[in-house]
């Protein structure tokens, strides 16, 4: 990457399924080390946009680069440089905590020494030493989500994509989860996160709001509130989302 401190760059990125335009020519940039909030109502096209950036789905038109790699031609390089945590819980429930970490680190090509050292550190940090050899199935949801996030950044990616990571998690755990996100961002990982919780949107460096496949607003939470003349992100979101013609799913 020649220039710079740009982690994600998208230009008129579009995805159509038949005559339905899920993502309608969105353009934006995410800077390195940013916590970028990707907001929108259900069915606004967030997940589809994210899937294109992760190399899971081929865009219909437009251009985009992730970590300096092209989303059309260099999906393999993209995959090596990103972490991803999906809406659906993505660890193997019938493997233990340790086995899950080892498996995901292993398929990213990490060495045994690296895996061993970092696993010990991670278990300590998550206070999961006692549960290390228990099946993931037996952990409470909040712990699972924190573990899933740790696994998603275990291989030290440049960017991590989080698709509604805190869905169904209690407020205390949510707060802890965001502390982890901050820590990851401080270590230089760019965070790209979708959420439905507006208090979480306030934690983001910058926020984009998608309505009907388009990005209708993109700025810092502070600036957005100023622009719309309201006091909370909640109101910003409601103002924009009300204009949506598409119904949620």
């Amino acid at each position: 990457m020649s220039t710079n401190n740009i982690a994600i760059h998208a230009e008129s990125l579009t995805k159509r399924f038949g005559d339905f335009t899920a993502v309608d020519a969105i353009s934006f940039e995410v800077k390195k080390g940013e916590i970028f909030g990707f907001l929108g109502a259900n069915g606004a096209g967030k997940t589809t946009a994210m899937r294109m950036l992760c190399g899971l789905s081929i865009p219909t038109s437009g251009t985009a680069s992730v970590a300096g790699f092209d989303v059309y031609k260099q999906t393999e390089q993209i995959k090596r440089n990103i972490g991803y945590m999906s809406q659906k819980f993505s660890l193997y429930e019938d493997l233990t905590v340790r086995e899950n970490i080892r498996f995901y680190a292993g398929i990213y090509g990490k060495t045994d020494a690296f895996i061993k050292e970092k696993t010990a550190f991670l278990l300590q940090e998550l206070h999961l030493e006692a549960e290390a050899n228990k099946l993931v199935r037996s952990l409470p949801l909040g712990w699972k989500q924190k573990l899933a996030f740790s696994v998603a950044i275990f291989h030290e990616p440049e960017i991590v994509f989080l698709d509604e990571p805190t869905g169904g998690v209690d407020p205390v755990t949510r707060r802890e989860f965001w502390n982890m996100i901050y820590k990851a961002a401080e270590s230089g990982i760019t965070i790209f996160v979708t959420t439905h919780y507006m208090d979480e949107a306030e934690y983001c460096t910058r926020v984009s709001i998608m309505v009907d496949g388009r990005i209708d607003a993109l700025d810092t939470p502070m600036q957005l509130k100023k622009t719309f003349g309201v006091s909370s992100m909640d109101e910003v979101f409601l103002k924009l989302a009300r204009q949506a013609k598409r119904s949620g799913d």
């Binding site: 899971l56 393999e76 995959k79 019938d94 493997l95 398929i107």
Partner: protein, 372 residues
Amino acid sequence: MRTLRFLLQKEFRQIFRDPSIIRIIFMMPSIQLLILPWAADYEVKNIQLSVVDHDHSQYSRQLVNKVTASGYFRLQDYSGSYTNALQQVEHDKSDLVLEIPANFEKKLISENESTLFMAINAINGVKANLGGAYLQTIIQDYNREVRLKWVQLPRFSPELQVEVTSSNWFNPSMNYKYFMVPGILVVLVTMVGSFLASLNIVREKEIGTIEQINVTPVKKYHFILGKLIPFWILGLLILTIGLTIARVAYGIMPLGSFGVIYTFAAVYLLAVLGLGLLLSTYTSNQQQAMLLSFFLMMVFILLSGLYTSIDSMPAWAKVITKFNPVTYFIDVMRMVVLKGSGLKDIGTHIFTLLGFAAVLNTWAVINYKKRS
């Protein structure tokens, strides 16, 4: 290579941690092989017979004795009225009615000939066919005995008689277990190879972990090999368990070599695993995969020559059997186990299955790519 190692390690851990899979691997072959061959037998026994005897003579009694002594028939009732016997058939208590006319003995002695009447309940076609044939054979036999006793045999029989004697090659005692056990074993290997594999992959789709794998640098062929290799090994493991049971429980020792069986099974599993992979690309949850599997398994079993001879199927069905991998394995198993066929004899079978494997796997991989 390293990636594949991690994938295989994970796969084996999951397989051996899942009690239902362990049950399927060890219990299913044991139970099926220990129970089914005893029940799935072509021989018809316990045919319920109603005798309508209008004659009540020594000869008629001798005939009935001979029939019941054969071991195939059970005398359900013995009466003097045909209507009564027919009622037994209607109530499904009788399969066969043998009517002995009045003056049976008298006619036989005075006119040297007599007629018997047989009515068959054809609701169960196999039973009726075989039952009728057995009874006829027994009556013919009886006929000969009577002749020997009554007719002064001339030096040369005035009537030309062709008598057929047969010897059963490859399975001299006509033991049906020799025939069925290898066949059932093939069905088991097929189920593990194709359906367990497809269920496993579809499960990852359902849970969402496949999506997680898709965003990692794991290559498609890594993922596919990581799924196919464990089930390939499981298939051969089931085959080994099955052959052991066949040896211990039924004393079936292949005339041919185990090497030939395993060589063919190795190729065969490639084909059915390809089918499993293909199924998984067309289904999105385990229910769909299960239903599709049931449907295919029925077709595979009924059109494989396991229970009914392919030669007697209509032409269009014969064509279908040619596209059924199970047909080939059953054929090979019977050839090797009963006839001692070698690699040379099953060469075309192996090449056909290699073709199946190539087509199914390619199709599956192409279809798999499209989806993600």
